[in-house]
Amino acid sequence: MDHIRAQARRSPLFVWFAKHGAIWPVIGLLALWQLACLAGLVPPRLLPSPAAVALRLAHDLLDPGFLFHIGQTLIRLFSGFFLALALGLCLGIAMAQGAEPFLTPLVRVASPIPKIALYPALVLLLGFGHASKIALVVADAVFPLMLATLHGLRSVPPKLVWAAQAAGASRSTVVLTVKLPSALGPILTGCRIALVIACLNVFLAEMISSSDGLGHLLVTAARSYQVVDMFVPLVLISLIGLLLNASLQFARRRLPIAS
């Protein structure tokens, strides 16, 4: 009996659970939710069971029509994020290289503005398609990326810069080959924040006005009171956010960078 237990302890599943103790509260919550639904404590018309949502999600993921909506959301998400990343890197570098006195007051005024309020104006200017949603993502995600870049460039050890300068590197070479690589840690943290912001903004924009995408699916399901179909896009966008967050965390741990 004992050796069976010992063997079970060495099984990869057990090791995984032991290492990821954080999974238990989540499992507990899902189990409570499922039990409450099974016991009939909540009407399924208002709150579907997690099993029902998971089944519908698995079913939808095989449906090409559903995949099209996921694709639309992901296109907006990633093009917005990468544009914001490019812009944020440029502005962050500019700030670190001496534009800070001009840019800091602008950032201080522009960053507390709720960007989602700009969305109607973006729709007026850029239309209901991809462009207005991508612009919204850029407007909101650029700030954490810019500030993370600035913070990262600031915390580069001066010795590295001096060494490169002593070796005859020009200003732009120092930025590109010394400063940016050693600022990678803070920049990746900025990316994590910006990706979650991008997910939220794309989804909300699609809910407010769109004819496709996951947010639009939630709104159409809400109009016909299909509560399971309302949960599916919400769960999926949250899973996308979690997945992106976790993969960047993983990348950060794997890359040879100082934290």
């Binding site: 919550l29 005024v109 007026l124 949250s238």
Partner: protein, 267 residues
Amino acid sequence: MKQGPPRFSALRQVWRRNWRTVLACAALLLIWQAAALWLKREELPSAWETLRDVPVILSSGEDVLGILASLRRMALGFGLGLLVAVPLGLAMGRSKPLARLLNPLTALAYPIPKAALMPIIMLWLGIGDLSKVLVIFMGVSLPLLYHSSQGAEQVDDKLIWSAQAMGMGQVARLLRVILPAALPEVMLGCRVAVSIALITMISSEMIARQNGAGNLLFNAMDMAIYTDVYAVILIIAVIGVVLDVLMERLRVALTHWADTLQPGSTS
């Protein structure tokens, strides 16, 4: 900072401290004006036209009441967050089991778009204020929980031991020792939470269009009164900037002692 001679008037002091911000606002408005004049599109009224429209909106009783109703919901949600999430966060920071239980759940809740829960919550609680307040509460709770627990974790154990030795109960310790000691971190959380409250308020009103500032935007858009759309955006933007400045002032006023202990933590 060097103390100026007393002959400087108060107005001049304000100008000296804020001229960069004022210039930044002016620069943004000028860029907007130039873009409008250059593009000459009906969908982009000039900054000047929009600014002239702001007093018109602010003198209409209905619109002002809508914005005030929005702000009231926001204050309620934020206050509820303070009452629930801050004590819970402080307790999380001092109790390992509680943190181990709640941290995974908050990490899971982090990427959920809170305003997107609006249709589901409206199914449960109806279309009234309660749903909107609840959504704002959920939005502000996460940063408050996170920062409160971070703050409580950093509190010096000796402070708590002394309070314990003096015979303080658990609740008294939490409120009279841990909360003041964790206040700088809690106030950081409050600043983040206020901006999230505003975002959640606007987006939930844009999704469930009943009344309020978010609804005002789309009403103007549906009627194709474009200057109104931009004027409401401008009003919301000013509310956002003013709330942020006020929160920052409050933070400095309440926790300036901490800033002097750790130079460089501000800015």
